[in-house]
């Protein structure tokens, strides 16, 4: 069965510092991968997605993620963090299409940004 692991429960960075959030997946077929962000009291918003092609994908708010098949990873990065990036981040993998389509999420990484 598919699974997603986010090894870091909580990360604290200073404003302006670079950021990398880790995500490892387990899935037998070609993975379709997503990063979502959740601000306090809000729903989830899609940051970016990977389906095929270029392994470095760009998303909204200056985020990017790199797919590494050999490492089963899809890490999220941002070169310079802003205070407004403080939120919880979820990595997800989509399973097969058809009637069995669903998203499986990691447990999330909470990002705190220090001024």
């Amino acid at each position: 069965a598919q699974s997603v692991t986010q090894p870091d429960i909580h990360i604290t960075v200073s404003e302006g510092a670079s950021l990398e959030l880790r995500c490892n997946y387990s899935y037998g077929a070609t993975p379709y991968l997503f990063w979502y962000v959740q601000s306090p009291g809000q729903g989830l918003q899609l940051l970016l997605k990977y389906f095929s092609g270029d392994t470095l994908v760009q998303g909204i708010k200056g985020f990017e993620a790199e797919f590494k098949r050999s490492q089963s990873s899809f890490n999220l990065r941002k070169p310079s963090v802003h205070w407004s990036d403080a939120a919880e981040y979820f990595c997800a993998v989509a399973t097969s299409g058809g009637s069995n389509y669903k998203l499986t999420f990691g447990k999330g990484t909470l990002l705190t940004v220090n001024p």
């Binding site: 729903g43 997605k49 389906f51 097969s96 389509y101 669903k102 999330g108």
Partner: protein, 114 residues
């Protein structure tokens, strides 16, 4: 307004009571989902629906019932609420069942069972 809306946003209920959480989407997306979010567990899928009158169990379906008589609505019912069902519930929709489509989420319903 277009989008996906959940109601109520907040609900307190007593153990043993039946409660229904509503989800409505205006996009005519075929797929809809219910997740619960708990500290330390992330989001776990309760039920999902591929189309009207087609539903299937997710990872944690026990104690929940869903129906989908119309494409735009996907209510979630707790038949006899328990304290362990205290959680934040998210509804989501997706245009089709292909893996290369994103899911759009509602704002969530915070349910407390006392």
């Amino acid at each position: 307004d277009a989008g996906i809306t959940q109601s109520p946003r907040y609900k307190i209920t007593e153990t043993g009571r039946q409660v229904t959480l509503m989800c409505h989407q205006t996009w005519s997306h075929s797929y809809m989902f219910w997740y619960r979010q708990d500290l330390g567990h992330g989001l776990r899928l309760i039920y999902y629906s591929a189309a009207a009158d087609i539903t299937d169990k997710g990872e944690v379906p026990d104690g929940y019932v869903v129906s989908r008589s119309k494409t735009e609505n996907f209510p979630l019912t707790l038949e006899s609420a328990t304290r362990s069902q205290t959680s934040v519930y998210f509804c989501a929709s997706s245009v089709q069942g292909a893996r290369n489509t994103e899911a759009f989420f509602g704002q969530g319903t915070r349910l407390t069972v006392v």
